[in-house]
Symmetry: C2
């Protein structure tokens, strides 16, 4: 098994098989690109000798394409596993506890999909009881919509409870005020590195040429605002106040051992959506509410794969830009303790979630903290962590 | 009346009362910021002596805020009206015919509203005959959604007919292929200059502090793709292949004389949506299809004003960034020849549009060119033009 000279405590999310990329700073230094190893961050501009890593985002590096990504990862792995390099590299490691982590990506466009059959079915049953839970198009295409890039924030950023317009069933007119049904959506985000020109399609088979890596994403959702606004043009202010992502981008290459065959698709998708590369991913998410793990959503149950989402996103000739992020949609499994939103977990409040302090919840209270983690099988039996995406709710202003 | 020493032919869209900003280049020069006067563009870095105008987009200038915008306009007006300055300024004028015009703004987030009552009613009648044409929320809030920033292109960029998935009524399963119902939406876009922080609301009264200026916008729409995909999360691939904007951004200050009282709103909007500043705008659009003017949509009939749209966009604490663009939604008036989309003009194909070459159209053919223009009352009785946004359809690839 490949071992590193760097200290990696047992159970660390960052073994040498992972090496996720992020943007960090110490004290008054400018933010720069680093990679996580154990409980440290490696200063990449210093150890790889490439100024592309002195940038305050991963974008310049990601724009260079998959051959450069592979080369950087190979060189970094060599530096961290060859003990003769320890003395030159070690001075450029900083304890994670001493650094500030920043938004790793300058986000271009943000798209959110809706690709868990269990989630879409649950939401359909809750919001349209008696009707067909899935819309007629759901099994034919990965449904998605554009979200607000400018309010994507890094893990740890406080989330101010949004205000807005909502109308409860039976009320005559809408009212204005703080959302009373503030929720999460536990998702996985895919970060585009290499762009594509307008007018060209990116087939599912080119997924690895364009997608640089993977983040955890919390699509905070104000259900009351969303319910009143979303017909006919989709979610808008119910989502656009904030979306949190993890500070670490796990390179796709680290997930080679997490690839699995996705669930069967029936009816068979149109040819442009076929994913011969089989980009199902065996990630297990973990949703923690005020310190209690309330759910473990399984990503390997997602109906549409990220390669199919990419093919769909570009089939009309839409271009890709470095820094585009597209998210999976809420990850929910078939069991109650695998649901990725509190709307589902509490079944719209009918089955409140009991926390270990004795309190119960349907949706988020002010002061609540939600943390999403994930792990996946890595090379040589290692377990790869994604770090976490976390946020605490502040009262409405 | 304020007159300029620069030649301005009668009927020019660019009298000295307008002075829209754009980004231009000559031959192998780097793109830089200019202002249009008559049939020329003024090199602003040269004549105002400020390197902020040497940038390849308006963003650095726009980020400086409304006091700087007003000052630059005042100084530029002085230079162009004081004949003693002619000899120093004139060398920095280039004929519009000799320059290339670029996308004027580095677009941050793009939002598209749906704020014409006539348009929303027409679409409702066409797509949901027998039902209520407007959804219950329509008169309570400006409905909107996020679009794709990365495919916003400058006027003149060819538009490749998009491919995608669609299912005609009565068909068993969806098929893949080029859109057969390619349409336009004649809109007005508002360009955000001064940002706002996350968690803060921007009231309607602060519209002029944040919005720098106005562009014309064509929201190209593939109706067949859109119809199959848009329930439940809104338009996605039916729109994301391309959105065209005019190269000239007309500063809000130039439109002071175009402000009018908007149509009455019933029921009265919630307090956060009240627009005491009355930002109705008396713009008249003109839609030309292969050289024939087929429609003149009146912007003064829009139900929701751009100031109300801005207040709504930020009421949940969503931040604004320099370069955000939000569009009005299709501008349609009450009369047939005031409709801003071909879906409405041809009433979904039932009333084909006859062109002067004898041909008829419901939607766009390959090779068709659509040009949208607009004008508005300016200071001292001048008529302010917006230039144009134009695009020609290329066959699907």
């Amino acid at each position: 098994m490949t071992t590193t000279w760097a200290p990696v405590p047992a159970g660390s999310p960052f073994p040498v098989q992972s090496l996720p990329y992020g943007v960090f700073s110490r004290e008054s230094e400018q933010p720069r690109v680093g990679a996580a190893i154990g409980e440290s961050v490696v200063d990449l501009a210093a150890v790889l000798g490439d100024e592309v890593f002195a940038a305050p985002s991963l974008n310049p590096f990601m724009a260079q394409g998959s051959a450069v990504w592979a080369d950087a990862r190979r060189r970094l792995t060599e530096l961290l596993t060859d003990s003769s390099r320890r003395s030159t590299v070690e001075p450029h490691l900083a304890p994670l506890a001493d650094v500030r982590l920043h938004l790793p990506v300058e986000v271009a466009d943000y798209v959110d999909f809706y690709s868990s059959e269990h989630h879409a079915t649950n939401v359909g049953r809750i919001l349209r009881p008696g009707g067909e839970p899935l819309t007629p198009n759901w099994r034919h295409l990965p449904i998605g919509y554009h979200g607000r890039s400018g309010t994507i924030v890094v893990s740890g950023t406080p989330i101010v409870r949004p205000c807005g317009q909502r109308k409860a069933a039976g009320e005559e007119a809408p009212t204005y005020g703080p959302s009373t049904r503030l929720d999460i959506e536990a998702e996985v985000g895919f970060v585009v590195g290499a762009p594509s020109p307008m007018g060209a399609r990116v087939p599912a088979s080119a997924f690895g040429d364009h997608v640089f890596g993977v983040v955890l994403l919390n699509d905070w959702s104000a259900r009351d605002i969303q319910a009143w606004e979303y017909v006919p043009l989709g979610p808008f202010l119910g989502k656009s106040f904030a979306t949190s992502i993890s500070p670490w981008v796990v390179p796709l290459e680290a997930l080679a051992h997490a690839r699995v065959i996705p669930p069967p698709q029936q009816p068979e998708p149109l040819p442009y959506l076929r994913d011969a590369g089989q980009w199902g991913l065996d990630l297990t998410l973990e949703v923690e509410w005020n310190g209690d793990v309330v759910s473990r959503p399984p990503f390997d149950q997602m109906y549409w794969t990220p390669a199919q989402q990419l093919a769909h996103l570009t089939v009309n000739g839409a271009s890709l830009r470095t820094g585009d992020i597209y998210a999976s949609g809420t990850v929910s499994g078939p069991d109650r303790d695998q649901r990725g939103s509190f709307l589902e977990l509490s079944w719209n409040g009918a089955q409140p979630v009991k926390l270990s302090d004795g309190s119960t919840r349907a949706f988020l209270d002010d002061g609540d903290t939600v943390t999403i983690r994930a792990s996946a099988p890595g090379a040589e039996g290692a377990r790869i962590g994604f770090g976490e995406v976390s946020g605490t709710i502040l009262p409405a202003r």
